[in-house]
Symmetry: C2
Subunit: 230 residues, 2 copies
């Protein structure tokens, strides 16, 4: 556990970010919770330290959190994605990996959560790649992981996280962090452009969830055993 | 088995159509294999009768096959979808259900199979709904089922088929046919417009298949037990 890097979460006070922070803290990783409000970040950090005694958790401004480690998670709603990326322009450094978890749900403009918005660049992740400073790489992941399941320490996962990015080595580093959460398997879904499809899985699952009153996830069948990321 | 309806498959000599015909014939359903060429339909029917002794199989022109039962499967490549729907205009009757399995892969215009084409109506299935005669209902399904797995009688499925359509009762009738194939579970993915997303699962799985040298399928986790379609 000693060699786990700090995991900075921009938007770490939101439902997805807080849930990830909880799970990663349980796995023993130091967490840097970022928020637009340092006060709310501090409150979230205090709450997490209560939930996971002994956890190493900081609450920071987003820009400061983003400088705590090489791999930074962006877990804000689509409505706030561009604003956050603008704010990170001065904070991110070449060599960092930004893991974009954004889903362009039509809910961002008061539409349905079972529908999505067209993003000019093709996907929210590709928009992020256009907006980050040169030398920062975007990887897309974690779109289909349910915040309610993350937030419930007793709930177990048994599902896949489809990871998109242009370099396998980058995706592999992100995969190691994802797989710190028990029951999650990171699957290589191809280049970043595949985020056009992977981001759509969220409204699809929401549509199924409504019909079945369930919290569904995705699992791929037919994958070979063994560690794809070695 | 006596009460299984005939299953007409337009494009039944293609890889997906022939594979479905094999599995449904094994399940005891009478099959009407449709093709542009009655001769090739007849050859495919003869081959299927060899593979499944005692099977009830006809080889017919597509238009004739489409009149054999209320629920008709369309399993042609996207390139041929419009032409086939034009040809079916005089054959289909109000009350019929057309199950569209088309995936608008960019391969249709010599692009990559990991990319898709934008369809003006939103999806191939919605294009089909626009083109069928009034009173015919389109249901979208079976996009992610691999033809190689279907064609191998020894291969077992353990995956889901996401079914899109505007009426649950129609989807339920299609679900019964899909679930005649052992190991397939039909999942209600919502209205026909969700085909915009479900059709994209195929290029996504192809992208994963390339990277893992595998034949992957989709399975949803977290669905409640019990028969959704009752």
């Amino acid at each position: 556990m000693a060699d786990l890097p700090t995991i900075p979460i921009v938007g770490g006070t939101g439902a997805l970010g807080a849930g990830l922070a909880l799970r990663w803290a349980q796995a023993g990783a130091p967490i840097a919770i970022g928020s637009r409000s340092e006060e709310r970040a501090g409150e979230a950090a205090a709450k997490l330290r209560e939930q996971v005694p002994g956890a190493s958790v900081e609450g920071l401004h987003n820009a400061e959190a983003a400088q705590r480690a090489e791999i930074v998670f962006l877990t804000v709603p689509f409505r706030a994605q561009s604003e956050n990326l603008n704010n990170l322009r001065e904070a991110l450094r070449p060599g960092q990996i930004l893991v974009d978890c954004t889903v362009p749900l039509a809910a961002a403009v008061s539409g349905k959560a079972t529908r999505s918005l067209g993003v000019w660049q093709g996907s929210a992740a590709q928009q992020a790649q256009e907006m980050v400073p040169e030398g920062v790489t975007v990887v897309a992941a974690l779109h289909t992981i349910g915040a309610p399941t993350l937030a419930d320490p007793a709930a177990n996962f048994d599902e896949d996280v489809l990871v998109c990015g242009d370099r396998k080595a980058d995706k592999g580093r992100v995969a190691r962090l994802i797989e710190l959460i028990p029951g999650l398997r990171a699957v290589n879904a191809g280049p970043l452009e595949m985020a056009r499809i992977v981001e759509q899985l969220t409204p699809l699952l929401i549509s199924v969830n409504v019909r079945y009153k369930a919290h569904t996830g995705i699992k791929l069948t037919g994958l070979p055993a063994g560690d794809h990321w070695e």
